[in-house]
Each structure stands twice: as C-alpha cells, then as structure tokens.
Symmetry: C2
Subunit: 326 residues, 2 copies
C-alpha cells in the first residue's frame, strides 16, 4: 500500500490540506476557512477534522497515511512541536500543536514555520528542484523568507532564522511593520509598493483629491502595464531595493538559486531587470552569475507540499536511525 | 602514539605552522616569511619545508602526524583542494595545492579559505566553544567573515559564501575596495575608520595642513582614548554601522554567537555600546537577546587552529565512513 502523508497549510484565512505521494505528487487537496476568531480550541478541532477528511479520502483510494506535516505562521519550535507565538493567531501562546494533533490522530505530526515549509516545498517539487541550497523570498503583504542549505531548512537557535524581509537596506529609511526602519519589507512588499506609488503620486493626488480610489499593489502593476511612467518607476525602484537585498544574500550564502514567491511575483517583468542590474552591481561576480533568480512554481501548494516534505524527512530519518541502531 | 595534525596559516606576509593535539592544544608553533613575490613554486616549496620542520619536531617529541590543514586566502575549492584565485597571490590561478602538498608530504592535506578556517578555529577552541552556530566577523584592513552552522563551515556553491564585509548597508554610500558602494567594510574596517576620521577632521586638517601625520586606525583609537570627541564619535558611528550589519546577520541566521576578530577588535570598548544599541533597535527581540556578541580569543592562532580542525574533521569523517562501510 502506498505510504502517503498529509500536508497542511494553516493560514490566518484558509486551512489547506493535501494528500501527497512519496515523490511529492499532490493526490488530492482540500481548502476550508480557518476562522481564527473562534479561538484556538475550535481551530485545532477544525484542523483535526480536515485532516480526518483527507485521511478517509486516502483510505477510500487505497492509500495508507504515514504522517502529517503542518506549516503554521509564527515562531515554531519544530523539535518540540510548539507554536510559541503567531501574529495571525493571537491566542496561540506556546500551544503544543504536535501533541494535540498526535493524540487526536494517532499519527506522527511535524510542525514547521509556514515560510520555511514553502521554501522546502519549492526545493522539493517546485522552483528549487535538483539543487541543494536555495533561498525563498516571499513578496506578499510583507516579505518572508526561508533558507534551505544542504536540502534542509536552516532554523537558527530559536527557530527564528530567515527573517529576510527585515534586513536593513536603508539605515534611516521607511518605517517598517516590525517597528524598525529601512527594512527590505518596507520597499519590496505589496504594502511598500503601494506606499511608493502614493508618495510618487502625492502632488497629483493633492491636485485632484477625489481622483484616486483605494490603491492596491495590483492597481500599481496595472498602471505600469498601461504605460504609467510613475508606476513603471515605482516598480523599477522596488526592483532596485529587492536587488540590494538579493545581492546581500548572494554575498552571504553563495546559494545555487533564489526563488521569488508571493503575490508581488505576478509583477515579475516590471521589477526583475532593475533587480538583476543591482545584483550584478553589488554581488561578487562568480556567485552573482551562478545564482539563478527564478519565480516560485507551486503557488498556494508550496506550504502544503513543504509541510509534507518535513513529514517525509522525519519518516526517513526515523527509518535511517532505526536501521543504524540495528 | 598521539595522533597530531599540522595546521598552516598561509598569509600574504607570514607563513605560520602549528602542531596540534586532537583536542586542539597547540603543542608548537613556527612563523616564517611568505615572500609572495618569489612566485608560487618557491612559496609552495617553503610551505613544504615549514611543514617538514614541524613534522620533524613532532617526531622528536614522539608524536605521529596524521594530516595537514592549510588555511589560504582567496577562493578555495576545498573538495578538490584548489586555490582558484587569491588577491594576495596574484600568480596562483587554479593551483592544485592539495595535490602538490600531498605528493611532497605523503600525508592527507585539506585546504580551506583562511577566514573560514579562523571561524572554525574560534568555534573549536576559542570564543565559539560549546556552541554549534557562530558567525565570525574579522575587522581588519578589510572585513572578512566565516559562517559556522551545525559546527561546519558553510561554503556556498562556489566556496565563496561568507563575504559578510560586502553586505550593502548604505545603498549609495562610500566606495568600497571591492568596487561596490556602501559595503559594511567601507565603514567598519580599519581603513573605513581612518577614512571617517579624515572626513570628520577635514576642516581642521585644512586649517593646519602640516599638523596631522599619516593617520592609522591605532592613531584614531588612541585619540579616542585620550578623549578626542571627534575620534570618539567616529568610533561610535563605526559601531552603529557594525550594529546594522550584525542585526542583519541575526535576523537572517538567528545564530548562537557572533565573534568579532581582527585588529579593530582592540578598540572594543570604543564601538561595542553603539553597536549593541543598533542591534537591539533593528534585530528581532528574541534572537537579538539570545545572540552573544563576543571578541575572538585565538588571535593569530585562529587560522592555524581552524586549519587543523578541518584536517581533524576530515580524519574523523574518513574513519566514520570507513567503519560504516565495514
């Protein structure tokens, strides 16, 4: 019987589950609402229910489920399976999610930070296939990151490594959502792009204060695609800032690949050229030429696929250490 | 018979060798001149001669030499034992140093980049003992770095990881020796400190153009220690720039410790407070509090000790894979 695992992407809005084959193929996916405001007990209950549906689904199709991997936002202590804290789940404080799920499911459960899971997902089945060192930059509302070295997530001493969006790139720059100033996130996120566009537009906004509706990042991309020089310049500037951050990562890690994910990725042609120029200007030549900068491939699946990868890695390390003990 | 190794620090000026016990104790050390201008063949010959002296020394004392580790400046392909290129040795292009030394010595030889070797040396026997993740920043004429993760050097895809001095921290800042602008090195190196002092002094230099001799970084530290407000401010500003760089490393790696080495370390009390303030301002609280910032402990020994560590790691991995093959 094929040994499958269930990958879970627990987001602030959606709760996604997938059934995955050992080579990473998604056999089935489900999506439900998380309803964070119901409180942690109900959310965990819903999680158990969704995993149960996916398990029944597996049985129906003739598959055994060997483990569950969960990607969750926030600070995760993976080895103990605890969600230390999570900005999206205000009432989750040191929640022993692994223990709660394992007791309910009688299956091994692994917990991983969602950005790390997405990075591992891309490395396993997406834009990072066939390489061992890869950095994922997720350009969404904010900027997240995941570092894969020798095919494993680098977690850091407190499980808090990979806060790539909070690299300072302008010493006394823009205020960032983290409270610091001049972070990469303040320039290269959807929020940063909107702010840059507003700032660039300000004189004309003043002239016709009714003229501009609520500006979104998609609005800015659309304006740029329609030839607005202001919007085009905003996206080039964003690319330049992203390029500084990527050049730093190249000089630090000398990685094989850097993968760009998140909603901002959809505006790829509007920022990638100025990003590449900045990278070639700032990173050492050999690693700059070596590092491929590519868009992510898995989209919304990345977190689930990566969570499943964590579960498979756990199963493999268990069988490996089991055989060497013997 | 105690199985020792010889650690070599091949610098542009000095060629240092040491005999080390398995637990890292330096049993003996020698120092000679490198004479780079004599060309690679003579330098390699001198290297073989110095290692030979150290080996005879070991025999005299009743020790066996099991391997040699060499730390060399520049781009090193450690697995193949090749010095790809080295700014300090202009005529070393793809030099197969490992092969040359192994043929002459009939001993296993490991080659490592010198900054990486120093980092591993500090982690093994110096300021990074008893921890597994550590970043070394060497503040000398330039700024070098070495990244130790899970007790191993992170080399990157081309052996060029750890160029921490060339992280951009001021987008359109000072010209750096690497040709880029705004690198950490341009502010936090001895050269950067001298430049900052010159810039701060410029009006008074103009007033009495004969008054100031050749300014060195030591001169600036001395002026600061004597209460010069200009020099004190230069050192605080340097600490602030260093703090930005360290905060970035903390947000990226969440390491256990950051070790500061190099000549500038001697001015520790003049920059560390402003560096710490900047770190607390910019890095996430949990990792910022966790990361100890400490001075290096091994001084000139670091490179030799680390090169020996590489040799011991090689011997151990050989005996491990040997035993599992059996």
């Amino acid at each position: 019987m094929t040994r499958t695992v269930i990958g879970v992407d627990l987001g602030g809005t959606n709760l996604r589950t997938a059934l995955l084959a050992p080579e990473g193929e998604v056999l089935d996916r489900r999506k439900g609402a998380t309803h964070v405001s119901d409180g942690w007990e109900k959310v965990v209950g819903r999680l158990i229910e969704e995993i149960g549906h996916q398990r029944a689904n597996a049985t129906r199709r003739g598959f055994a489920v060997a483990a569950v991997g969960v990607g969750a936002p926030g600070v995760i202590q993976g080895d103990r399976g605890i969600v230390v804290k999570s900005p999206n789940f205000p009432d989750w404080n040191n929640l022993p999610l692994k223990k709660l799920l394992e007791e309910a499911l009688s299956l091994p459960v692994m917990i991983e930070n969602d950005a790390n899971a997405a990075a591992l997902g891309e490395q396993w089945r997406g834009a990072g296939q066939n390489i061992k060192s890869m950095i994922l930059l997720t350009l969404g509302t904010g900027v997240g990151g995941g570092i894969v070295l020798d095919s494993k997530i680098w977690h850091g001493a407190d499980g808090m490594a990979g806060e790539l969006g909070h690299m300072t790139i302008v010493p006394e720059g823009r205020l960032c959502s983290c409270g610091n100033v001049g972070c990469l996130e303040a320039y290269a996120s959807a929020r940063g792009i909107v702010q840059s566009y507003r700032e660039a537009l300000e004189p004309s906004v003043r002239r016709s204060s009714q003229g501009v509706g609520p500006i979104t990042s998609e609005y800015v991309y659309e304006a740029a695609r329609s030839g607005s020089e202001i919007a085009l310049q905003v996206m080039r500037d964003m690319g330049r800032m992203l390029g500084i951050g990527i050049a730093n990562l190249i000089n630090i890690f000398n990685p094989e690949r850097i993968v760009i994910g998140g909603g901002v990725k959809d505006a790829w042609p509007l920022f990638i050229e100025s990003a590449r120029q900045e990278i070639m200007r700032r990173a050492f030549e050999v690693p700059a030429k070596r590092t491929e900068i590519v868009p992510s491939l898995l989209g919304d699946d990345a977190g689930m696929v990566g969570a499943a990868a964590v579960a498979y890695q756990h199963l493999e390390s268990g069988s490996r250490s089991g055989s060497s003990d013997a």
